[in-house]
């Protein structure tokens, strides 16, 4: 792809101290986009990318989708990397530090700590993303890994899940969120028995609201997934792995045999996937002076992605960002497009703060459930959620719109791919509610597949 025209900074807009040492911590989507954008903006100083994982930056959404498919090219064990090591090192001039997690940050000395090493910076992009939560008693850091119990965040996790599915595992998913539901879909596609356990009375109430949560519950049931709502997990049933036996995927000494629920039921299981949410990966920033959110300890930034600490910006899953589109409400999004957009913007703003503009984000994510696609644009924080089209009976999909005062602020679309970006535009333009409703009502659902 061709480069953008080179950027000529406006007169007088050069930063007071030009950045010569740019460090990006977190070598995934947001971090990668930051290094790419820095070079594209003409930055020719030192550029270091520090990553905890051994892998080159790779794409996560396929890990719970195509990667778990039965076979064929798309299910092959390929790492979906965005760029080769040569491209990163030679073309982008990146000093790659993989497999080396940052352990601290000294904002006075302006140094990133990686174990005993100190990496000096005058510009820093924090892009350490998020890490899944464990259920009490399942964190391998405390008790050692239990075979057959995993989350799904990394390529290594995805390999664990796929291996177990290939072995015909009975699957229990804890948490009816997006990732857990996608794993359930993959297992049902293989004809395996699946139970999804959700503590709330409906799935996804927090992220898309109860009206739409009910639709998602129907998708599970229609696909033959046993959905248990309003019940918590009391603990895991495990057994020791016999000496000399094949260790269960993801663990060594013990392996899971079942999930015990609050109501006493035990669900037999060979694979338990925890999808109970993530928290920002900011343990390394505690005490550094970088502002962390009082609730989940994510990095708090303004609408230009600046932390307020000189030279330090944050982007992607790790950041709570003020969004001018929604009255500067802070959102911490866990979406691909958000990480991609903000990664680049953080680097550009850092290199040329005088030219920084607030980023107005229309949040957007998609999720594949069984043979259906869910797409959400905007915010679910609304005065009203209205189902404006429901043609599920004829396989024609579903649309719900989210209203604040007389504005349309969000849309959930099931199986109507053509409508999504049109609604997104209305949301970005702060468009009137009535017209958005009218648009959906007068647009026919897609032709039956």
């Amino acid at each position: 792809m061709s480069a953008e025209p080179s950027v000529t900074p406006p007169a007088g807009a050069a930063p007071a101290t030009p950045v010569r040492r740019l460090v990006v911590v977190g070598a995934s989507l947001a971090g990668l986009r930051a290094v790419e954008a820095a070079r594209r903006a003409g930055y020719d100083g030192a550029l270091t990318l520090v990553g905890a994982e051994e892998h080159l930056p790779y794409d996560r959404p396929p890990l719970s989708k195509a990667f778990l498919d039965v076979d064929g090219a798309r299910g092959a064990d390929t790492v979906m990397t965005f760029r080769t090591e040569e491209q990163l090192r030679d073309e982008l001039g990146v000093d790659l530090r993989l497999g080396s997690p940052a352990t601290g940050l000294d904002t006075d000395a302006r140094e990133v700590l990686v174990g005993d090493e100190r990496i000096p910076y005058d510009g820093l992009v924090i892009a350490t993303g998020s890490v899944p939560r464990w259920l009490p008693g399942t964190d391998p850091a405390d008790d050692g890994p239990v075979g057959g119990v995993t989350q799904l965040r990394t390529l290594d996790d995805a390999r664990t899940v796929r291996t177990a599915l290939e072995a015909g595992a009975r699957l229990v998913v804890v948490g009816a969120g997006f990732i857990g539901s996608e794993v359930a879909s993959a297992a049902r596609k293989r004809g395996l028995p699946v139970t999804v356990v959700e503590a709330l009375d409906l799935p996804l109430t927090r992220s898309i609201g109860p009206e739409v949560g009910a639709v998602c519950a129907d998708l599970h049931r229609a696909a033959g997934t046993d959905l248990r709502l309003g019940v918590g997990v009391a603990g895991l049933e495990t057994e020791p792995v016999a000496a000399g036996a094949e260790p269960a995927p993801g663990g060594a000494g013990r392996r899971v045999t079942g999930v015990r629920l609050d109501d006493g039921t035990v669900l037999p299981a060979d694979l338990v996937v925890l999808g109970i949410g993530v928290r920002p990966a900011t343990a390394w920033l505690e005490g550094s002076g970088v502002p962390l959110h009082e609730g989940d300890r994510g990095v708090v930034v303004d609408a230009t992605l600046a932390t307020g600490v000189p030279g330090v910006y944050a982007a992607g899953d790790v950041a709570h960002v003020a969004n001018p589109l929604y009255d500067d409400e802070h959102h911490r999004l866990e979406h691909w497009t958000n990480a991609a957009d903000h990664g680049g913007a953080a680097a550009r703003h850092l290199l040329d703060p005088a030219a920084a503009r607030p980023v107005e984000t229309v949040p957007y994510f998609w999720s594949d459930w069984y043979d259906h696609r869910l797409q959400f644009v905007g915010t679910p924080r609304a005065d009203e959620v209205r189902v404006v089209a429901d043609d599920r009976a004829s396989d024609g999909g579903f649309v719900a719109l989210y209203r604040r005062a007389d504005r349309v602020v969000g849309a959930l679309v099931l199986d109507r791919p053509r409508d999504v970006m049109k609604l997104r535009r209305r949301i970005a333009d702060r468009g009137p509610w009535d017209e958005a409703v009218e648009h959906v009502v007068t647009t026919p659902p897609r032709a039956k597949r």
Binding site: F82, D341, Y364, R373, P417, M421
Partner: protein
């Protein structure tokens, strides 16, 4: 300049349409349709943004 869309890779996620609605539209089949595949040079910046925004790297610009 020519827009090439790998239709077997495209997932119909529509980010290209968000960036450059005059050139891309996701259809009912959930795959992108390129509305004008030989755009003028003046659209290069928008199109480059669209190419970059595609989560599955299905788009390229040639020339």
């Amino acid at each position: 300049m020519k827009i090439v869309a790998a239709l077997d890779t495209c997932e119909g996620l529509g980010m290209c349409e968000a960036m450059a609605p005059d050139f891309f539209e996701v259809g009912d089949d959930g795959v992108v349709e390129v509305l004008d595949d030989s755009p003028g040079e003046e659209h290069r910046t928008d199109l480059a943004a669209a190419v970059d925004a595609c989560p599955v790297l299905a788009l390229t610009l040639q020339g």
